[in-house]
């Protein structure tokens, strides 16, 4: 009996030690398997030696990470620190949305991904020198999402000057946006905060908070500093209020100076902290100020979260096709509130990589469209985000040549008569012609009609129809309103009828991204329809059917009754 207990405890001990050892070995020092997986799956972009110079790298922006510099954008660690192993593992597993780094969860086992983590760490000496694990950002004190928190966050978004890069409405269109470059000298656009599906490090509240506190190393996104350091939320708001006043009363002036002084003290303590001269009281004061800074940051995080929808909208395919709504009235103009009653259809766009010159690194995510029609006309509202408003060709020392922004909306000249009939080639037609509306940022109130039989074979129509247009650029967003008659006399035009599905496709040019001619973002064919006025049949047939079934029941009863009696 005693021996069996002894044997059992040895077995349990061995089991535990095996588990412990295998756990401890999760990230071994050098790994042959890691090298193998890296060279099979990663090297074509990141290079055999980890310099981010694989053969595919030349067409990619953001560029594949150079592992030899030890600079990692997406970390859960403080600014200036290396990432944790878990950070690297997560990025490999989940990928970086909006870049060409895919998720590897579906393609590599967890073991292989850990092996790759240890292997890429061998490219940078700093990982070996760093004995202690990097310090992680604390997620303590998270403030739950609420309207109130969003409001406070909005204030600090302004006070911390986030808008300078990310823009007033968060579309990445701040005044400094066009000038930003990353550590390696490549163009680096600030994130469009309304498109959180493109956030490289994920879009959860915690993800956003970490980017905020730790910054995005190598990019223009800095580690965050509190612009009202040492002030409480109320004091900071008051400070902002007074700061913007043109004239202050004496008491206000005094109040302002007190707050200013309080901030100054907090910064002095910060300096002493870094020099290691702070006493206990000062240390405590600093800790308090830091705690308030974190609170402010959680509020900003909630504000950023509020700017984007829960998830990326569904593309306008199938049931989500663009449906123009009927109205008996005159059609709404560009700023009419009526547009707010419609939900936009979402058309994702991608770079044109078929005909030279090609666009491998698009900056425009999508175009959103709404539409109304009445008995004679149809009006569209095309909405797309573009970080800069470029109205002409420009030569710029810092960031090269930029061109004019534009959009073209494409329809077939003849609508395919049945589902098996081929549409024109989706890139501006081929043997079958397409009909286009082209709009350019330099002439906001006109649309040109084109006929094209290929992407480099477009002609301005000799007879320009009566198309009304109005374009506006506000806060990183273009809105283009177009109105045309349903029927025209021109044989080269599209003729539109209610209830008929019409193929539609888009080309958009972001001049600041070098888009010109064939270099542009495109969509393939989608469809739109003038949603028929719900047929009055729906009020006639159902009652008839109901009455009929009632009649049958009554008749049946009569029949049975008579037979039985």
């Amino acid at each position: 009996m005693r021996t069996s207990i002894f044997v059992l405890s040895i077995i349990i001990f061995l089991l535990f030690s095996v588990i412990f050892i295998s756990y401890a070995q999760e990230a071994p020092e050098v790994s042959e398997r890691g090298k193998e997986v890296y060279e099979e799956s990663c090297a074509h972009c990141h290079g055999v030696e980890g310099r981010g110079d694989g053969s595919a790298a030349k067409n990619l922006l953001p560029q594949p990470r150079d592992f030899t510099g030890g600079i990692y954008k997406i970390r859960s660690t403080a600014s200036g620190e290396l990432p944790t192993d878990k950070d690297l593992f997560d990025i490999i597993s989940k990928g970086m949305p909006g870049s060409s780094m895919p998720e590897w969860e579906s393609a590599l086992s967890a073991d292989d991904r850990w092996e790759v983590v240890s292997y890429i760490k061998t490219f940078y000496e700093g990982f070996k020198e760093n004995e202690s694990p990097p310090k992680e950002i604390s997620l303590d004190g998270k403030i739950p999402y609420s309207e109130e928190s969003v409001e406070i966050g909005k204030f600090f978004y302004t006070q911390f000057a986030c808008f300078e890069c990310h823009g007033n409405a968060g579309r990445g269109d701040g005044t400094s946006a066009p000038t930003l470059q990353d550590e390696w000298g490549f163009k680096s656009w600030p994130a469009n905060l309304t498109e959180n599906w493109n956030f490289r490090g994920g879009s959860s509240t915690e993800d956003i908070y970490k980017r905020f506190i730790g910054g995005i190393a190598g990019s223009a996104m800095p580690m965050f500093e509190d612009a009202s350091f040492g002030l409480t939320i109320e004091e900071a708001q008051r400070y902002g209020q007074l700061e913007n006043k043109v004239e202050m009363t004496d008491t206000e002036d005094e109040e302002f100076n007190t707050l200013d002084e309080k901030m100054g003290n907090a910064y002095d303590i910060l300096d002493m902290m870094t020099e290691g001269l702070a006493n206990e009281e000062q240390k405590q004061k600093h800790a308090e100020a830091m705690k308030i800074f974190q609170e402010k940051s959680w509020h900003i995080t909630n504000y950023v979260k509020s700017l984007a929808p829960e998830k990326r909208p569904e593309p306008a395919i199938g049931k989500n096709a663009l449906r123009s709504q009927y109205t008996v009235d005159t059609l709404p103009t560009i700023d009419d509130a009526a547009w707010g009653t419609l939900e936009a259809s979402y058309f994702p766009l991608v770079g044109q990589i078929i005909v030279e010159p090609r666009q491998f690194n698009p900056t425009i995510d999508s175009v959103n469209v709404k539409s109304f029609y009445n008995d004679t006309e149809v009006a569209f509202l095309f909405i797309w985000d573009d970080r800069t408003n470029n109205t002409e060709e420009q030569e710029n020392e810092d960031f090269g040549k930029t061109y004019e922004d534009a959009i073209a909306i494409q329809f077939p000249v003849k609508i395919p008569q049945d589902p098996t009939a081929p549409k024109p080639y989706f890139l501006w037609g081929g043997k079958k012609a397409v009909y286009l509306w082209q709009w350019k940022a330099s002439a906001v109130n006109s649309v040109t009609e084109l006929t094209a039989k290929g992407i480099t074979n477009a002609e301005v129509q000799e007879v320009q129809g009566d198309i009304q247009a109005e374009g506006k650029y506000t806060d990183g967003q273009y809105r283009l309103w177009v109105k045309r008659a349903l029927k025209t006399d021109d044989k080269k035009d599209l003729q539109i009828e209610p209830g008929v599905f019409v193929p539609i496709a888009f080309s958009v040019w972001d001049g600041a991204n070098g888009d010109i001619d064939t270099k542009r973002v495109i969509s393939s064919w989608y469809s739109f329809v003038l949603e028929p006025v719900p047929s009055s049949r729906r009020f006639i047939y159902p009652p008839i059917v109901a009455l009929l079934s009632l009649g049958i029941l009554v008749g049946l009863r009569g029949f049975v009754y008579r037979r039985n009696s």
């Binding site: 074509h44 972009c45 694989g54 595919a56 030349k58 067409n59 870049s99 060409s100 895919p102 579906s106 393609a107 593309p315 395919i317 199938g318 049931k319 096709a321 449906r323 994702p348 766009l349 991608v350 770079g351 990589i353 078929i354 395919p416 049945d418 589902p419 098996t420 009939a421 081929p422 549409k423 080639y425 989706f426 081929g430 209830g499 599905f501 495109i522 969509s523 393939s524 064919w525 989608y526 469809s527 719900p534 047929s535 049949r537 729906r538 047939y541 159902p542 009652p543 059917v545 109901a546 009929l548 079934s549 009632l550 029941l553 009554v554 049946l556 009863r557 049975v560 009754y561 039985n564």
Partner: protein, 253 residues
């Protein structure tokens, strides 16, 4: 407990079969069964029930008894009134939702397998031998074969992965805007079903080279002979099968 009437049994069997076909079988094979198939099965079940009850006169009258009772019996008045109200109401709602339904855009009834042209060409040059000229190296010269696969890998990641994806699964970062979606080479129905020459044709001529039959293709596949050398196309074809582990259909099979 009272034995349920024949009518109740038949009614329950009928409804249960429909639920089984509509919801349970669909989730078992993880593809919903088409409505037309369900209608066929339900018709068979209905016929079976009708045959069962009409085999004997006594069975038929037993089946009809509850219906007749409901229609004429004095003490079934409440049930009768409820049914007379509910059935027409149901018909009203059913017809209304059917008529008011929004029409979807026409589907894309395209062929899965376009038929290749009679002659394999690269630009205008006719290729007589339809086998991959580097395939034999797999046995004859593994080192050189490997360098062709590596070159194919380079070609793939320089040109194809934007749409067809890092994992060759058709989920590249440009795929989201394309309809139809780019081919998924990890799908067991793609590589094993085609010869290498078929891939050569699809790559070199792209979407515009698809036949006139079986439209609309709507393919966004570029004409790669405009960008790639003949050898590069054959190499990327080698890479696709090496990476996925699938073999192409052999010539003559």
């Amino acid at each position: 407990m009272r034995k349920p009437s024949l009518f109740t049994i038949c009614f329950v069997i009928f409804i249960a079969s429909w639920i089984f076909l509509r919801y349970i079988v669909g989730s078992l094979i993880s593809v919903p069964i088409p409505n037309s198939v369900i209608v066929m099965y339900m018709a068979l079940i209905l016929i079976a029930i009708l045959v069962h009850i009409s085999v004997e006169d006594s069975r038929l009258s037993e089946f009809l008894r509850p219906i007749i009772e409901t229609l004429v019996d004095e003490n079934k008045k409440v049930r009768r009134i409820v049914l007379v109200v509910l059935i027409p109401l149901f018909m009203l709602g059913y017809t209304y939702t059917n008529i008011a339904q929004k029409a979807g855009p026409p589907g894309d009834p395209r062929d899965a397998h376009p038929s290749p042209p009679l002659e394999l060409t690269y630009k205008d040059e006719v290729i007589e031998d339809v086998e991959n000229p580097y395939r034999h190296l797999e046995k004859d010269n593994p080192e050189e074969f490997k360098s062709h696969v590596e070159n194919g890998r380079r070609v793939y990641y320089d040109n194809c992965f934007y749409c067809h994806g890092d994992h060759l699964d058709g989920q590249g970062h440009f795929a989201s805007a394309l309809n139809p979606l780019p081919a998924n080479f990890q799908d067991p129905g793609i590589i094993p079903n085609f010869q290498e020459s078929f891939f050569f044709w699809r790559i070199s001529k792209g979407g515009p080279g698809l036949p006139k039959e079986g439209t609309p293709w709507n393919s966004a596949m570029p004409i790669w002979e405009d960008h790639l050398e003949k050898e590069e196309i054959w190499d990327v074809i080698l890479f696709l099968s090496e990476y996925t582990g699938y073999s192409y259909r052999e010539v003559g099979h």
